[in-house]
Symmetry: C2
Subunit: 183 residues, 2 copies
Amino acid sequence: MEKKIKGVRVIGIDDAPFDKFKDKEVLVIGVVARNGKDKVIEGILSTKIEKDGRDANEKIINVIKNSKFVNQIKVIFLHGTTMGGLNLLNLNEIYKSLKIPVVGVLRRKPNIESVKKALIKAGKLKEANLLECEFEKLGKFYVKMVGIKKDELIDIFDIGLYTLRLAHLIGSGIMKGESKGRL
Amino acid sequence: MEKKIKGVRVIGIDDAPFDKFKDKEVLVIGVVARNGKDKVIEGILSTKIEKDGRDANEKIINVIKNSKFVNQIKVIFLHGTTMGGLNLLNLNEIYKSLKIPVVGVLRRKPNIESVKKALIKAGKLKEANLLECEFEKLGKFYVKMVGIKKDELIDIFDIGLYTLRLAHLIGSGIMKGESKGRL
């Protein structure tokens, strides 16, 4: 079992900071790493999504599908379940399309009602109804899991958080010149 | 001694891929990491330089000087001694300005004559004369050291190569959507 977990590759995906008023597109970054003592970083993927748009799901599916890592990635970690503002992710769809388990990770308890209100205000009624809201607590984090169970997740949660943190640092460093903050 | 080396922070700097004909600016990425078993990545810096311009040295000095890591970084690793095409780096100047040792690292033996010719062709006579050409072999690499000796470098060469590799992966992943190749 130990050996199995060690070789496991995961991807952590986060959006980069953006200007709410000026930017039309938002950079999304994926970090591929292999579990083990060294946490080897094997690759960086990126794509651009429309701010508050509807293309995040498709773009993320495609960037993974078209990458050389597609057959190696065992779990997809997402920072939250929205990217680039209100560009909603559908974890079930990603799982169905790629046949790779998907985990949305949040640092704080999600405020579902406030996101729903924002979606409705933006005319996204369909999305408001599809918003992911079943988060479970895992350590200090809140997770939404599709295609993977909590006891399977625990073993690779560290490497998942590592890739998410790095995706966050890269996004922040590229867009602002210096990385700030933490996942 | 072991302990001292463990805590040491270094930065590895590389330019991202660019289009020789279309791009006017080139993204430059710095990865700050702490030496030790875990090779903790502490931050990402970035700046933009003019393709074939003369601002690489100043921009790199400034991005380090203005970062929260400036007093912690013990060695600056550069992938080569030119960035963004023919935008020349002056390792002595960086060392003088920041008081941090600087190491230029190349995978292959540099073809000094061919770079000199390109510089002269581009009207950069001054730069052609200032081109770094004293590279020493270290393992499989060629290095130019300023402010640090070979025996001091050996202990932190691994973490330096790690940050350079990561800066390369990030640049490639951001500009091309997927990271390719190796340092």
